[in-house]
Symmetry: C2
Subunit: 470 residues, 2 copies
Amino acid sequence: MGIDLTFSKSDLEGFFSPQGVVIAGASNNEKSLAYQAMLRLISGFKGNVYPVNPKYREVLGLKCYPDVVEVPDDADLCVIIVPAKVVPDIVDSCGVKGIKNVVVVSAGFAEIGGEGIKLQEKVVEIARKYNVRILGPNCLGTINPRNGLDYMFLPIKKMPKATPGYVGHITQSGAFGTTFIDIAAKQGLGLSKFVAIGNAADLDEVDFLKYFGDDEETKVVLLYLERSHRKFFDIAKKVSRTTPIVLLRAGRTKAGAAAAASHTASIAHEGADKILDAACEQMGIIRGYDWEEALDYAKIFSYCDELPESNRVTIITDGGGAGVMASDAVELFDLEMAKFEKNTEKALEEKFPVHYAKINPIDLTGNATTEDFITALDIVSQDRNVDSIVFIPLPGVPNMNVKELIDQMQPVVERCEKPISACTMGGSEADKLSELLENIGIPSFPTPERAVKAISALTKYSKYLSKFKK
Amino acid sequence: MGIDLTFSKSDLEGFFSPQGVVIAGASNNEKSLAYQAMLRLISGFKGNVYPVNPKYREVLGLKCYPDVVEVPDDADLCVIIVPAKVVPDIVDSCGVKGIKNVVVVSAGFAEIGGEGIKLQEKVVEIARKYNVRILGPNCLGTINPRNGLDYMFLPIKKMPKATPGYVGHITQSGAFGTTFIDIAAKQGLGLSKFVAIGNAADLDEVDFLKYFGDDEETKVVLLYLERSHRKFFDIAKKVSRTTPIVLLRAGRTKAGAAAAASHTASIAHEGADKILDAACEQMGIIRGYDWEEALDYAKIFSYCDELPESNRVTIITDGGGAGVMASDAVELFDLEMAKFEKNTEKALEEKFPVHYAKINPIDLTGNATTEDFITALDIVSQDRNVDSIVFIPLPGVPNMNVKELIDQMQPVVERCEKPISACTMGGSEADKLSELLENIGIPSFPTPERAVKAISALTKYSKYLSKFKK
């Protein structure tokens, strides 16, 4: 875990924005991890790629070098995918060559115990001699969707590439990380940067959290960790003042901690979960208690630039039941149902004949037209008693047209200075609606509860920040 | 709410398996609800359809009758979609004609208050005179996917038809009901029967719960309610002895109850939620606290015929992090990590080199092959210390082939007498895997937490039933 070398932001820049990348262990064998990694990298990376392997003269159509020391000088990141025992020599070569950023993808180190621990210590020792920083070993490394950097060893057809966006993801579990990328790609949720830290022999979550906190493309940091320690919280406290942090901490229970000990050799103890809760609250960290929650929170922070001023929510829907469920969620997640201003009441009164369309939740019923939704949204977005809006259009109703709704919503949404989260429940029509809403900047969730819970995360963070305002 | 007429099962049969259906208020106007309802009905219903409207001689190509009394004698269900004030006359005609099952789709009754309440009372009064049973008013009515009965007024292209299956759904909210159908269709989750009770002036959730409890095609009843009362629990207690009941009760909080009062005029009071918890536990009702939970529970009961003998769970995965999260969930949802029998330990020892593939959670790692999954599943399915299995194959790993996995799993699954739930996280590969798993009878969930929680619902129900075994 994190050696205390002082470093500046630029020290880690090479892990995300290298000019040239060396693949040590490059191979033409399609079944090898190195082949898959390099194939992924060359399909999109906007820098140079230098395969290194004494066995080949060419790999995947590129000139292959026998040794790291022989690659051209613009190479500033080396990705090592060779048998564990060969890794120390390659790291030494990187040091000699002056490559300061090294990713050790290879497994067979501390995670297997015994000799593996010693080998890992040796790698770090060599790296320190040359002032080389190590990511890994036993890791998937880094991704930067904006320059196409992606050398994961997973086949491209099994795992799509991440799209550019605003979520910075740091993960202690490679599998969790790739699953996140996969789901994010499906949902159209973009990533700023990604790092899977593996055994974290040198660089760890703390180093990357600090780096992501300074990164302009990262609007929210999502962390998957199976441990948490003092130094993490010290940095998190600083970062959370400007960048929201969502933490998914696995190994919360005795059973989970036992599994984590076997997975990443992380150690937890009973009662730790409550202590973690308290620490997160104090440091302004938003905790996602399970996988979906964490993703939902990352999503809303990535979409919403406005934070709610306080906790008063309005719900707009055409489904009475959805309105009831969302109202339940408002109370359960420490929010409040907004009480409308007189002007709002009057405006709703003028527009809607039925009484349940004038109170919160605004229930436009199955007779709702496209126009009704726009009218209601426009009216409440101007109400100073409303801090955030949960928008739940069920697309099945006969008089609402999804495309028209989106077209007419866009100017209203642009004028609106309150965060809006949407819920689109249902089949393919709902999926289409969800995508269209997200295209105009409104994050969409599959249930009323999740749409409200996401707003509660924004509200919690806003409240935390307000402590520092005078 | 439920008038105390004694009735036998056959009284409600006509609402689901009619020979001929009258559409009172049938229309050729494509914008009318009656047109949409009839279009849906004639595209699939295996009985006769009789449009009634004095204005037309033909509707959608079928002979249109001027009055209900003139339709042929095999008509035994009448669906009324006319302005509210005309409804009493049509119900009277049904009585005269001898049609005992009437669905009033029309709105404008108790839900609008004042005159609407009186009109609703009048409808019920007329119905009682003729011994006619009323479903509604202000409701979507019934669906029976096995005979194609479906007269919802939602356009077919906006709302797919339900597929035949085993979930019986009773809903107080039409919008919730249609959303459920929409999502169920997307997920391939089949319905036995569906009823949206609307204002429930005569027949209510209690009547249909009793009917569904006796229905052979219904393996689980899913209820969406905004109220619950004594009579409901009396019947639920009886039904739950043979058919699991999943209850999603909205209006749990003060805010939610206020919204429910406006939506379905249901009344709740503070503290009621805890009382409801206790009542559900006592009656063997499984409560889903939100929308996804309720659906997940309905799904696992619909798939799994075997109930777990006790609460000891095994997790099999190739994702270490997923294993940790699932282990956390096991403890959080009152389950236990199974401790393997000696034979199991020995068998795993022989097959797997790495230590973390021999303990629970079984972590096959990113090197997992198709064969590894089958081997692990086969071994633990024979362990008497294991009551249920949570299977989490992350499809991104290089050496696992989804199609081969399913082919080889099928015989193992067929031999296995323990419930299995799966989690498939990710993008399109995961979606494909999910569908294939469900084709061989394994319900699949999008997160480890939800896969474990679903098992916990089975376990809870099994424990409840065990009280009655001697």
